[in-house]
């Protein structure tokens, strides 16, 4: 009997260890982009604007700037912030899940690695949504579907210009558009 209990405990421990080691990669996605950092940013920005469903750009941040201001540097990285009032509204109105506003606005990170390649980092909204009940889970399913549209790159389309925030500027709060959350 003792052997059975020990086996179950060991199995649970092994499973937890596996989940723990994979949690990071499950929570976030990373994919390579064939374009430069700037062109990737611009293409995603325009895709977001074209997606509808209440999506709008909230800001564009450059997390490297504070490093540069301090005399340091790192490979380029830019962060697009976008929000959909259609999806954010129900979450923001529900006291039980309002704390999820911490995940707003949605962020997409575009960065270069030391191998010279450009990558797009996104949060696994589907997985995270499924942890917080049906309402949030259903909303996040829609977010995932839209997020996939953001990342479709059509090489036949010419490179668009980066959309810079109209007010607020990089590193500050949003204000790129009137919509969003």
């Amino acid at each position: 009997m003792l052997k059975v209990i020990a086996g179950v405990v060991a199995g649970i421990a092994a499973t937890l260890a596996l989940v723990w080691s994979m949690a990071g990669s499950l929570a976030f996605n990373e994919q390579e982009s064939p374009y430069t950092v700037e062109e990737t940013v611009a293409r995603i920005q325009h895709n977001i604007q074209d997606t509808g469903n209440g999506w709008s750009l909230m800001g564009l941040r450059n997390p490297i700037k504070p490093l540069q201001a301090a005399g340091d540097d790192a490979l380029p990285a830019m962060m697009i912030e976008a929000c959909s009032n259609k999806y954010s509204g129900p979450i923001l109105k529900d006291d039980n899940v309002r704390f999820l506003s911490i995940l707003m606005p949605c962020k997409i990170s575009i960065y270069k690695k030391s191998n010279g390649k450009v990558y797009i980092g996104t949060m696994n909204a589907g997985l995270i949504g499924s942890l917080f009940g049906t309402t949030v889970g259903d909303i996040m399913k829609n977010v995932v579907a839209d997020q996939q549209k953001f990342l479709v790159m059509d090489p036949n389309k010419p490179a668009p210009a980066i959309i810079l925030p109209k007010t607020g500027g990089e590193g500050g709060s949003g204000g790129g558009s009137a919509g969003g959350c």
Binding site: T36, E38, D73, L75, P76, S114, A159, P160, A161, I162
Partner: protein, 541 residues
């Protein structure tokens, strides 16, 4: 206790004294005091109508300066390669950007250290035509524009034409009275803006180096060492050392006093020696062992164009002359606001923070010059860095490889000399007619032209040597000795963790297996021995 306190005080005092120079280097160095105020010289206290007038005044004191300059590449734009005997320099080579100066002198000579070179009739012996101010202006107001054959701006003019932007005339008297030793801005006025734009050509030189951070360049760091260009490119009699035409790719030996004991002052080992690492014993030995194969730049410039300016990766001339939807020339920018297409020039690709490509390099570069035969069936190497494994003069160097397409004579198989700049009937940028432009350019160059042109893929190599990063940003072991090794394309060397040798792998695994078998045999023997030892007459089992 009574002994400890003075000891601690002494230690702190000694540490303070020892570290003082290090702290001092974080402060901007004081401006150098000059022994002459040129504003007080009567020769310079008058209005100057032209650049040559200023030079005449300069030469009244600096009697040998013009003669010295006229013997340098900055004046002749010509260099004879000692090994091949081939004539090189901007007058002879075709590059991968604007291609050639021939027939385009009026524009190109905005970067000539002289006045009036507008065609092949330029007189190289006239001393007043040496431009002193382009290198010695300290006001930052001295400007020479394309189209003026090397003269500064004398009258307010719109530049670029049709842009609505205007450039004011240079106050020559003010500039002449404020001359100084060349700063990074002086050299950068041409070398940062080569090929028609900031950062376009070299990849490791752009205007961010006017006031760089330590992260961009440890030596030029504006708040630290603050090296000017001539700190490394030491100058004697106006001859600037350290040309790309005559490089030493592998300087060995101890650190030297630059300029005194070393005829190649523009190299890392000139100051750092060839055993530059002083970390812990094991690491030091490993890192220093790399210096007989790797150039310092390979590890210490992990990426080039490390700023928002970036550099041009490719220039495709084959799309030039294509017009916009309304049949007019168009200029299209990329997502970062850099030039992506120009009806005059074709397509461009730009990026920043670029990973270099690596080549064996012994300092010798073979060039295709005007009139040389090419093989259009493949990629034409405009220049080829020589070097190979086991050559003591060779090291693995980082390069910017600029790729493109440019026009060539499709029957004679030579690169075309194209008359691009100018506003005359035959200039490509005025009439958008390749046939006329090539015909005019080839005629000026004295080359026969078949009348048939095509476009050939080209590439040009630029050794990377500026933008040296702080040591904590140098390449890590795994960036070469790993799955995505930067040196995977380098031949002739065995890279641990990259190059698999079946024989060595087999020998290794055999050794592992032999060790395992040995352990098992040993264990089994011990076990048997233990069992035998426990046998007694009472218990024979």
């Amino acid at each position: 206790m009574t002994v400890t306190k003075p000891l601690l005080t002494a230690f702190l005092l000694a540490a303070t004294i020892a570290l003082a120079p290090a702290w001092a280097t974080t402060q901007a160095p004081p401006a150098k005091k000059t022994t002459a105020d040129h504003a007080k010289f009567k020769e310079l206290q008058r209005n100057f109508a032209s650049g040559p007038e200023v030079t005449k005044a300069c030469l009244s004191c600096h009697t040998e300066a013009a003669d010295q300059v006229q013997h340098t590449k900055h004046w002749t734009w010509e260099y004879t390669d000692a090994k091949s005997g081939k004539k090189l320099g901007k007058r002879a080579i075709i590059n991968n950007y604007c291609t050639t100066t021939i027939s385009n002198e009026k524009d190109c000579m905005a970067c000539h250290a002289g006045y009036g070179w507008k065609d092949s009739n330029f007189d190289f012996t006239v001393k007043e035509n040496v431009d002193c101010l382009v290198c010695h202006d300290s006001t930052g107001t001295y400007r020479k524009l394309p189209g003026d054959a090397g003269h500064p701006v004398y009258e307010r003019k719109e530049f670029p034409k049709g842009s609505g932007k205007f450039v004011d005339p240079v106050d020559l008297q003010k500039v002449a009275q404020k001359v100084a030793m060349p700063s990074r801005a002086n050299c950068g006025a041409c070398h940062f803006f080569g090929a028609g734009g900031d950062g376009t050509k070299h990849g490791d030189l752009d205007s961010a180096l006017k006031t760089p951070s330590k992260a961009l360049d440890v030596h030029m760091d504006a708040t630290g060492l603050n090296f000017s260009c001539v700190k490394c490119h030491q100058t004697s009699g106006h001859e600037v050392a350290g040309s790309r035409y005559a490089m030493a790719a592998a300087v060995t030996g101890h650190a030297r006093v630059r300029g005194a004991q070393d005829d190649q002052p523009a190299s890392c080992p000139s100051c750092h020696g060839d055993k530059p690492h002083h970390e812990n014993a094991l690491l030091m030995e490993r890192l220093n062992a790399h210096t007989d194969k790797l150039a310092c730049q390979t590890c210490h410039i992990p990426e080039y164009a490390r700023d928002g300016i970036g550099t041009e990766k490719s220039w495709d001339w084959s799309t030039a002359t294509k017009m916009g939807p309304e049949g007019k020339p168009v200029l299209i920018k990329d997502s970062a606001g850099r030039r992506a297409f120009d009806s005059k020039k074709g397509n461009f690709a730009w990026d920043s923070y670029l990973v270099p490509e690596y080549r064996w390099f012994n300092g010798q570069v073979s060039y295709i010059t005007v009139g040389d035969k090419i093989d259009p069936s493949g990629i034409v190497e405009i220049n080829h860095p020589e070097g190979k494994v086991n050559d003591p003069a060779s090291r693995i160097w980082p390069f910017k490889i600029h790729r493109g397409k440019q026009a060539y004579d499709a029957e004679n198989n030579i690169l075309a000399v194209t008359h691009t700049a100018g506003e005359d009937e035959t200039a490509l940028w005025a009439n958008f007619d390749w046939q006329k432009a090539i015909t005019a350019g080839m005629k000026t160059a004295g080359l026969s032209y078949s009348g048939k042109y095509g476009f050939v893929s080209t590439e040009m190599s630029w050794p990377i040597t500026h933008m040296v990063a702080p040591k904590d940003a140098a390449l890590q072991c795994a960036q070469c000795h790993g799955a995505e090794s930067r040196l995977a394309g380098i031949d002739g060397i065995y890279l641990p963790a990259v190059h698999g040798s079946r024989l060595i792998d087999l020998l290794g695994w055999l050794a592992v297996a032999a060790a395992l078998v040995g352990v098992l045999i040993h264990g089994f023997t011990r076990f048997c021995f233990f069992c035998n030892k426990n046998k007694t007459p009472e218990n024979p089992q």
